[in-house]
Symmetry: C2
Subunit: 199 residues, 2 copies
Protein backbone atom coordinates (compact mmCIF):
# COMPACT_ATOMS: atom_id res chain seq x y z
CA UNK A 1 0.00 0.00 0.00
CA UNK A 2 2.07 2.96 -1.21
CA UNK A 3 1.12 6.52 -2.00
CA UNK A 4 0.47 6.94 -5.73
CA UNK A 5 2.78 9.10 -7.82
CA UNK A 6 -0.08 10.90 -9.49
CA UNK A 7 1.23 10.54 -13.03
CA UNK A 8 -2.33 10.13 -14.37
CA UNK A 9 -3.76 13.62 -14.09
CA UNK A 10 -7.07 13.88 -12.28
CA UNK A 11 -7.00 10.35 -10.86
CA UNK A 12 -7.98 10.20 -7.23
CA UNK A 13 -4.92 9.73 -5.06
CA UNK A 14 -5.19 6.74 -2.73
CA UNK A 15 -2.93 4.66 -0.61
CA UNK A 16 -4.11 1.46 -2.30
CA UNK A 17 -3.63 2.45 -5.91
CA UNK A 18 -5.80 2.45 -9.00
CA UNK A 19 -7.17 -1.05 -8.59
CA UNK A 20 -8.41 -0.36 -5.05
CA UNK A 21 -9.80 3.03 -6.12
CA UNK A 22 -11.88 1.29 -8.79
CA UNK A 23 -13.07 -1.36 -6.31
CA UNK A 24 -13.99 1.30 -3.73
CA UNK A 25 -15.93 3.26 -6.33
CA UNK A 26 -17.64 0.07 -7.52
CA UNK A 27 -18.72 -0.87 -3.97
CA UNK A 28 -20.21 2.59 -3.37
CA UNK A 29 -21.93 2.68 -6.76
CA UNK A 30 -23.35 -0.88 -6.62
CA UNK A 31 -24.66 -0.26 -3.10
CA UNK A 32 -26.17 3.13 -4.07
CA UNK A 33 -27.93 2.38 -7.34
CA UNK A 34 -27.74 -1.41 -7.74
CA UNK A 35 -25.97 -3.57 -10.28
CA UNK A 36 -28.02 -2.74 -13.39
CA UNK A 37 -27.88 1.04 -13.00
CA UNK A 38 -24.21 1.20 -12.00
CA UNK A 39 -22.42 1.66 -15.31
CA UNK A 40 -18.73 0.93 -15.80
CA UNK A 41 -18.49 4.54 -17.03
CA UNK A 42 -19.95 5.97 -13.80
CA UNK A 43 -17.64 3.81 -11.70
CA UNK A 44 -14.65 4.88 -13.80
CA UNK A 45 -15.64 8.54 -13.39
CA UNK A 46 -15.95 8.14 -9.61
CA UNK A 47 -12.51 6.54 -9.52
CA UNK A 48 -11.12 9.16 -11.94
CA UNK A 49 -9.89 6.56 -14.41
CA UNK A 50 -10.64 5.68 -18.01
CA UNK A 51 -13.48 3.11 -18.45
CA UNK A 52 -11.14 1.01 -20.60
CA UNK A 53 -8.90 0.61 -17.57
CA UNK A 54 -11.79 -0.84 -15.56
CA UNK A 55 -12.39 -3.43 -18.27
CA UNK A 56 -8.66 -4.07 -18.51
CA UNK A 57 -8.37 -4.79 -14.78
CA UNK A 58 -11.65 -6.58 -14.14
CA UNK A 59 -13.31 -7.77 -17.39
CA UNK A 60 -17.13 -7.67 -17.39
CA UNK A 61 -19.30 -5.67 -15.00
CA UNK A 62 -20.29 -8.94 -13.32
CA UNK A 63 -16.63 -9.83 -12.81
CA UNK A 64 -16.06 -6.35 -11.36
CA UNK A 65 -18.94 -6.93 -8.94
CA UNK A 66 -17.46 -10.30 -7.93
CA UNK A 67 -14.11 -8.58 -7.30
CA UNK A 68 -15.79 -5.79 -5.30
CA UNK A 69 -17.38 -8.50 -3.13
CA UNK A 70 -14.02 -10.31 -2.98
CA UNK A 71 -15.62 -13.41 -4.49
CA UNK A 72 -13.12 -15.97 -5.77
CA UNK A 73 -14.95 -16.66 -9.04
CA UNK A 74 -17.20 -15.12 -11.66
CA UNK A 75 -20.78 -15.83 -10.49
CA UNK A 76 -21.64 -16.59 -14.13
CA UNK A 77 -19.89 -19.95 -13.65
CA UNK A 78 -22.65 -20.88 -11.18
CA UNK A 79 -25.59 -19.06 -12.78
CA UNK A 80 -24.92 -20.70 -16.18
CA UNK A 81 -25.26 -24.19 -14.65
CA UNK A 82 -28.50 -23.17 -12.96
CA UNK A 83 -29.81 -21.62 -16.19
CA UNK A 84 -29.20 -24.93 -18.00
CA UNK A 85 -31.42 -26.92 -15.58
CA UNK A 86 -35.12 -27.50 -16.33
CA UNK A 87 -37.51 -25.73 -13.94
CA UNK A 88 -38.52 -28.95 -12.19
CA UNK A 89 -34.86 -29.67 -11.38
CA UNK A 90 -33.96 -26.18 -10.12
CA UNK A 91 -34.07 -27.11 -6.41
CA UNK A 92 -31.58 -29.93 -6.55
CA UNK A 93 -29.42 -28.19 -9.19
CA UNK A 94 -29.04 -25.02 -7.11
CA UNK A 95 -28.22 -26.90 -3.89
CA UNK A 96 -25.73 -29.18 -5.63
CA UNK A 97 -24.01 -26.44 -7.66
CA UNK A 98 -23.66 -23.96 -4.81
CA UNK A 99 -22.53 -26.54 -2.21
CA UNK A 100 -19.98 -27.96 -4.65
CA UNK A 101 -18.41 -24.53 -5.20
CA UNK A 102 -18.39 -23.75 -1.46
CA UNK A 103 -16.82 -27.12 -0.65
CA UNK A 104 -14.10 -26.59 -3.31
CA UNK A 105 -10.74 -24.89 -2.64
CA UNK A 106 -12.29 -21.63 -3.94
CA UNK A 107 -14.91 -21.93 -1.23
CA UNK A 108 -12.55 -20.83 1.54
CA UNK A 109 -12.40 -17.33 0.09
CA UNK A 110 -16.14 -17.35 -0.63
CA UNK A 111 -16.80 -18.14 3.04
CA UNK A 112 -14.50 -15.29 4.10
CA UNK A 113 -16.29 -12.87 1.76
CA UNK A 114 -19.69 -14.07 3.00
CA UNK A 115 -18.62 -13.58 6.64
CA UNK A 116 -17.43 -10.05 5.92
CA UNK A 117 -20.63 -9.22 4.08
CA UNK A 118 -22.81 -10.53 6.92
CA UNK A 119 -20.67 -9.13 9.71
CA UNK A 120 -19.68 -5.65 8.64
CA UNK A 121 -20.59 -5.31 4.96
CA UNK A 122 -23.16 -2.97 3.46
CA UNK A 123 -26.49 -4.84 3.27
CA UNK A 124 -27.29 -2.85 0.11
CA UNK A 125 -24.33 -4.49 -1.62
CA UNK A 126 -25.55 -7.96 -0.62
CA UNK A 127 -29.07 -7.12 -1.76
CA UNK A 128 -27.93 -5.83 -5.15
CA UNK A 129 -25.77 -8.91 -5.67
CA UNK A 130 -28.58 -11.32 -4.75
CA UNK A 131 -31.43 -9.56 -6.56
CA UNK A 132 -29.64 -8.41 -9.71
CA UNK A 133 -27.06 -11.13 -10.24
CA UNK A 134 -27.81 -14.35 -8.35
CA UNK A 135 -31.62 -14.49 -8.44
CA UNK A 136 -32.26 -12.44 -11.57
CA UNK A 137 -32.40 -15.22 -14.17
CA UNK A 138 -34.33 -17.64 -11.96
CA UNK A 139 -37.04 -15.14 -10.94
CA UNK A 140 -38.95 -14.97 -14.27
CA UNK A 141 -38.70 -18.76 -14.66
CA UNK A 142 -40.64 -19.38 -11.42
CA UNK A 143 -43.03 -16.41 -11.63
CA UNK A 144 -46.20 -18.52 -11.44
CA UNK A 145 -48.69 -17.19 -10.50
CA UNK A 146 -47.39 -13.88 -11.94
CA UNK A 147 -45.81 -11.73 -9.25
CA UNK A 148 -44.75 -14.64 -7.01
CA UNK A 149 -41.24 -14.98 -8.46
CA UNK A 150 -39.61 -12.51 -6.07
CA UNK A 151 -41.15 -14.19 -3.04
CA UNK A 152 -40.20 -17.65 -4.32
CA UNK A 153 -36.57 -16.81 -5.06
CA UNK A 154 -35.92 -14.92 -1.81
CA UNK A 155 -37.36 -17.84 0.19
CA UNK A 156 -35.04 -20.21 -1.68
CA UNK A 157 -32.14 -17.84 -0.99
CA UNK A 158 -32.97 -17.94 2.72
CA UNK A 159 -32.62 -21.74 2.90
CA UNK A 160 -29.43 -21.70 0.88
CA UNK A 161 -27.86 -18.90 2.94
CA UNK A 162 -28.70 -20.70 6.18
CA UNK A 163 -27.19 -23.91 4.88
CA UNK A 164 -23.96 -22.08 4.07
CA UNK A 165 -23.94 -20.29 7.46
CA UNK A 166 -24.39 -23.51 9.43
CA UNK A 167 -22.15 -25.70 7.26
CA UNK A 168 -19.27 -23.31 6.50
CA UNK A 169 -19.23 -20.59 9.19
CA UNK A 170 -20.70 -22.14 12.36
CA UNK A 171 -19.66 -25.62 11.18
CA UNK A 172 -22.50 -27.27 13.01
CA UNK A 173 -22.30 -31.07 13.10
CA UNK A 174 -23.59 -33.33 11.68
CA UNK A 175 -24.70 -30.81 9.02
CA UNK A 176 -21.13 -29.69 8.29
CA UNK A 177 -20.01 -33.26 7.43
CA UNK A 178 -23.04 -34.38 5.42
CA UNK A 179 -22.21 -35.11 1.78
CA UNK A 180 -23.34 -32.87 -1.07
CA UNK A 181 -25.46 -35.81 -2.34
CA UNK A 182 -27.22 -36.20 0.98
CA UNK A 183 -27.90 -32.49 1.39
CA UNK A 184 -29.06 -32.21 -2.21
CA UNK A 185 -31.56 -35.02 -1.60
CA UNK A 186 -32.89 -33.44 1.62
CA UNK A 187 -32.69 -29.68 0.95
CA UNK A 188 -33.31 -29.77 -2.84
CA UNK A 189 -37.05 -30.46 -2.33
CA UNK A 190 -37.29 -27.46 0.05
CA UNK A 191 -35.96 -25.12 -2.64
CA UNK A 192 -38.12 -26.81 -5.29
CA UNK A 193 -41.24 -26.25 -3.17
CA UNK A 194 -40.37 -22.58 -2.64
CA UNK A 195 -39.68 -22.12 -6.37
CA UNK A 196 -42.55 -24.06 -7.96
CA UNK A 197 -44.83 -25.50 -5.26
CA UNK A 198 -48.02 -24.25 -3.61
CA UNK A 199 -47.11 -21.63 -1.03
CA UNK B 1 -15.58 1.35 32.13
CA UNK B 2 -13.24 2.60 34.84
CA UNK B 3 -10.15 1.07 36.35
CA UNK B 4 -11.09 -1.13 39.31
CA UNK B 5 -9.93 -0.21 42.81
CA UNK B 6 -8.75 -3.72 43.54
CA UNK B 7 -10.47 -3.99 46.92
CA UNK B 8 -11.25 -7.69 46.29
CA UNK B 9 -7.88 -9.38 46.70
CA UNK B 10 -6.83 -11.76 43.92
CA UNK B 11 -9.31 -10.50 41.35
CA UNK B 12 -7.87 -10.01 37.90
CA UNK B 13 -7.32 -6.33 37.23
CA UNK B 14 -8.89 -5.13 34.00
CA UNK B 15 -9.94 -1.91 32.40
CA UNK B 16 -13.51 -3.15 32.02
CA UNK B 17 -14.04 -4.31 35.57
CA UNK B 18 -15.35 -7.45 37.20
CA UNK B 19 -18.38 -7.85 35.00
CA UNK B 20 -16.34 -7.79 31.79
CA UNK B 21 -13.72 -10.13 33.32
CA UNK B 22 -16.48 -12.67 34.04
CA UNK B 23 -17.93 -12.31 30.53
CA UNK B 24 -14.48 -12.72 28.95
CA UNK B 25 -13.80 -15.84 31.01
CA UNK B 26 -17.26 -17.19 30.16
CA UNK B 27 -16.72 -16.70 26.40
CA UNK B 28 -13.37 -18.51 26.51
CA UNK B 29 -14.73 -21.33 28.67
CA UNK B 30 -17.97 -21.87 26.70
CA UNK B 31 -16.01 -21.90 23.43
CA UNK B 32 -13.38 -24.30 24.83
CA UNK B 33 -15.46 -26.95 26.56
CA UNK B 34 -19.07 -26.17 25.63
CA UNK B 35 -22.01 -25.06 27.71
CA UNK B 36 -22.59 -28.21 29.78
CA UNK B 37 -18.98 -28.70 30.87
CA UNK B 38 -18.29 -25.03 31.58
CA UNK B 39 -19.16 -24.69 35.28
CA UNK B 40 -19.88 -21.38 36.94
CA UNK B 41 -17.10 -22.33 39.36
CA UNK B 42 -14.51 -22.75 36.58
CA UNK B 43 -15.55 -19.45 34.99
CA UNK B 44 -15.33 -17.71 38.38
CA UNK B 45 -11.86 -19.20 38.94
CA UNK B 46 -10.68 -18.01 35.51
CA UNK B 47 -12.00 -14.53 36.29
CA UNK B 48 -10.54 -14.68 39.83
CA UNK B 49 -13.88 -13.95 41.47
CA UNK B 50 -16.19 -15.78 43.86
CA UNK B 51 -18.81 -18.02 42.12
CA UNK B 52 -21.52 -16.26 44.14
CA UNK B 53 -20.59 -13.03 42.39
CA UNK B 54 -21.17 -14.63 38.99
CA UNK B 55 -24.67 -15.65 40.08
CA UNK B 56 -25.21 -12.23 41.59
CA UNK B 57 -24.33 -10.45 38.34
CA UNK B 58 -25.82 -12.84 35.79
CA UNK B 59 -28.29 -15.27 37.39
CA UNK B 60 -28.34 -18.77 35.85
CA UNK B 61 -25.63 -20.28 33.67
CA UNK B 62 -27.96 -19.92 30.69
CA UNK B 63 -28.42 -16.24 31.43
CA UNK B 64 -24.64 -15.87 31.72
CA UNK B 65 -24.28 -17.50 28.29
CA UNK B 66 -26.88 -15.11 26.86
CA UNK B 67 -24.94 -12.18 28.33
CA UNK B 68 -21.64 -13.54 26.96
CA UNK B 69 -23.27 -13.67 23.51
CA UNK B 70 -24.74 -10.19 24.12
CA UNK B 71 -28.24 -11.57 23.61
CA UNK B 72 -30.99 -9.23 24.79
CA UNK B 73 -33.03 -11.93 26.55
CA UNK B 74 -32.79 -15.24 28.35
CA UNK B 75 -33.09 -17.95 25.67
CA UNK B 76 -35.32 -19.89 28.10
CA UNK B 77 -38.11 -17.45 27.21
CA UNK B 78 -38.05 -18.89 23.69
CA UNK B 79 -37.17 -22.50 24.48
CA UNK B 80 -40.03 -22.79 27.01
CA UNK B 81 -42.58 -21.84 24.35
CA UNK B 82 -41.11 -24.39 21.98
CA UNK B 83 -41.07 -27.06 24.70
CA UNK B 84 -44.80 -26.49 25.29
CA UNK B 85 -45.71 -27.24 21.65
CA UNK B 86 -46.70 -30.76 20.55
CA UNK B 87 -44.19 -32.45 18.20
CA UNK B 88 -46.48 -32.12 15.17
CA UNK B 89 -46.66 -28.32 15.71
CA UNK B 90 -42.90 -27.75 16.28
CA UNK B 91 -42.25 -26.36 12.78
CA UNK B 92 -44.78 -23.56 12.91
CA UNK B 93 -44.20 -22.89 16.64
CA UNK B 94 -40.44 -22.44 16.17
CA UNK B 95 -40.81 -20.16 13.13
CA UNK B 96 -43.51 -18.05 14.79
CA UNK B 97 -41.77 -17.77 18.18
CA UNK B 98 -38.32 -16.91 16.82
CA UNK B 99 -39.57 -14.45 14.17
CA UNK B 100 -41.76 -12.70 16.76
CA UNK B 101 -38.78 -12.16 19.09
CA UNK B 102 -36.56 -10.96 16.23
CA UNK B 103 -39.24 -8.57 14.98
CA UNK B 104 -39.73 -7.15 18.52
CA UNK B 105 -37.78 -4.17 19.94
CA UNK B 106 -35.40 -6.70 21.56
CA UNK B 107 -34.66 -8.06 18.11
CA UNK B 108 -32.43 -5.12 17.15
CA UNK B 109 -29.83 -6.20 19.67
CA UNK B 110 -30.28 -9.87 18.73
CA UNK B 111 -29.53 -9.00 15.10
CA UNK B 112 -26.41 -7.10 16.17
CA UNK B 113 -25.23 -10.06 18.27
CA UNK B 114 -25.94 -12.47 15.40
CA UNK B 115 -23.98 -10.28 12.97
CA UNK B 116 -21.01 -10.15 15.32
CA UNK B 117 -21.12 -13.90 15.85
CA UNK B 118 -21.24 -14.60 12.09
CA UNK B 119 -18.73 -11.93 11.15
CA UNK B 120 -15.95 -12.11 13.69
CA UNK B 121 -17.17 -14.32 16.52
CA UNK B 122 -15.77 -17.67 17.58
CA UNK B 123 -17.70 -20.41 15.71
CA UNK B 124 -17.20 -22.68 18.75
CA UNK B 125 -19.28 -20.27 20.83
CA UNK B 126 -22.09 -20.32 18.25
CA UNK B 127 -21.92 -24.12 18.08
CA UNK B 128 -22.09 -24.55 21.84
CA UNK B 129 -25.03 -22.15 22.05
CA UNK B 130 -26.96 -23.89 19.29
CA UNK B 131 -26.21 -27.49 20.26
CA UNK B 132 -26.37 -27.23 24.04
CA UNK B 133 -28.96 -24.52 24.57
CA UNK B 134 -31.16 -23.88 21.54
CA UNK B 135 -31.47 -27.36 20.00
CA UNK B 136 -30.90 -29.48 23.10
CA UNK B 137 -34.51 -29.98 24.24
CA UNK B 138 -35.89 -30.46 20.72
CA UNK B 139 -33.31 -33.06 19.65
CA UNK B 140 -34.59 -36.03 21.74
CA UNK B 141 -38.18 -35.20 20.80
CA UNK B 142 -37.51 -35.68 17.08
CA UNK B 143 -34.99 -38.52 17.33
CA UNK B 144 -36.96 -40.92 15.14
CA UNK B 145 -35.45 -43.14 13.79
CA UNK B 146 -32.97 -43.13 16.71
CA UNK B 147 -29.84 -41.16 15.86
CA UNK B 148 -31.55 -38.81 13.39
CA UNK B 149 -32.31 -36.05 15.92
CA UNK B 150 -29.03 -34.22 15.47
CA UNK B 151 -29.38 -34.19 11.68
CA UNK B 152 -33.02 -33.09 11.90
CA UNK B 153 -32.42 -30.21 14.31
CA UNK B 154 -29.34 -28.84 12.53
CA UNK B 155 -31.25 -28.84 9.21
CA UNK B 156 -34.08 -26.93 10.89
CA UNK B 157 -31.52 -24.51 12.34
CA UNK B 158 -30.12 -23.92 8.85
CA UNK B 159 -33.50 -22.78 7.47
CA UNK B 160 -34.16 -20.60 10.49
CA UNK B 161 -30.70 -18.99 10.41
CA UNK B 162 -31.07 -18.23 6.69
CA UNK B 163 -34.46 -16.68 7.26
CA UNK B 164 -32.99 -14.39 9.92
CA UNK B 165 -29.99 -13.52 7.72
CA UNK B 166 -32.13 -12.58 4.72
CA UNK B 167 -34.93 -10.88 6.69
CA UNK B 168 -32.95 -9.02 9.35
CA UNK B 169 -29.38 -8.56 8.07
CA UNK B 170 -29.55 -8.45 4.26
CA UNK B 171 -33.17 -7.21 4.43
CA UNK B 172 -34.04 -8.82 1.14
CA UNK B 173 -37.46 -7.86 -0.21
CA UNK B 174 -40.16 -9.10 -0.36
CA UNK B 175 -38.98 -11.57 2.33
CA UNK B 176 -38.12 -8.78 4.80
CA UNK B 177 -41.66 -7.36 4.70
CA UNK B 178 -43.64 -10.61 4.75
CA UNK B 179 -45.74 -11.00 7.88
CA UNK B 180 -44.92 -13.49 10.62
CA UNK B 181 -48.19 -15.30 9.78
CA UNK B 182 -47.27 -15.64 6.13
CA UNK B 183 -43.73 -16.85 6.83
CA UNK B 184 -45.00 -19.25 9.48
CA UNK B 185 -47.41 -20.76 6.94
CA UNK B 186 -44.71 -21.14 4.27
CA UNK B 187 -41.55 -21.94 6.24
CA UNK B 188 -43.20 -23.84 9.14
CA UNK B 189 -43.76 -26.93 6.94
CA UNK B 190 -40.08 -26.91 5.93
CA UNK B 191 -38.97 -27.11 9.56
CA UNK B 192 -41.68 -29.69 10.30
CA UNK B 193 -40.44 -31.90 7.46
CA UNK B 194 -36.83 -31.65 8.67
CA UNK B 195 -37.92 -32.44 12.24
CA UNK B 196 -40.44 -35.23 11.72
CA UNK B 197 -40.73 -36.05 8.00
CA UNK B 198 -39.05 -38.63 5.77
CA UNK B 199 -35.57 -37.41 4.92
Amino acid sequence: MTEQNGTRSGRRPGRSGTREAILDAARVRFAQVGFDKASIRSIATAASVDPALVHHYFGTKQELFAAALELPLDPAVVTRQIAAAPVEKLGETIVRTVLTVWDSPLGVQAVAAFRTLLGSGDPALARAFLLEVVLKDVRPRVDSPPGSGARRTTLAASQLAGLLVMRKIVQLEPLASMSVDELTAIVGPTLQRYLTGEL
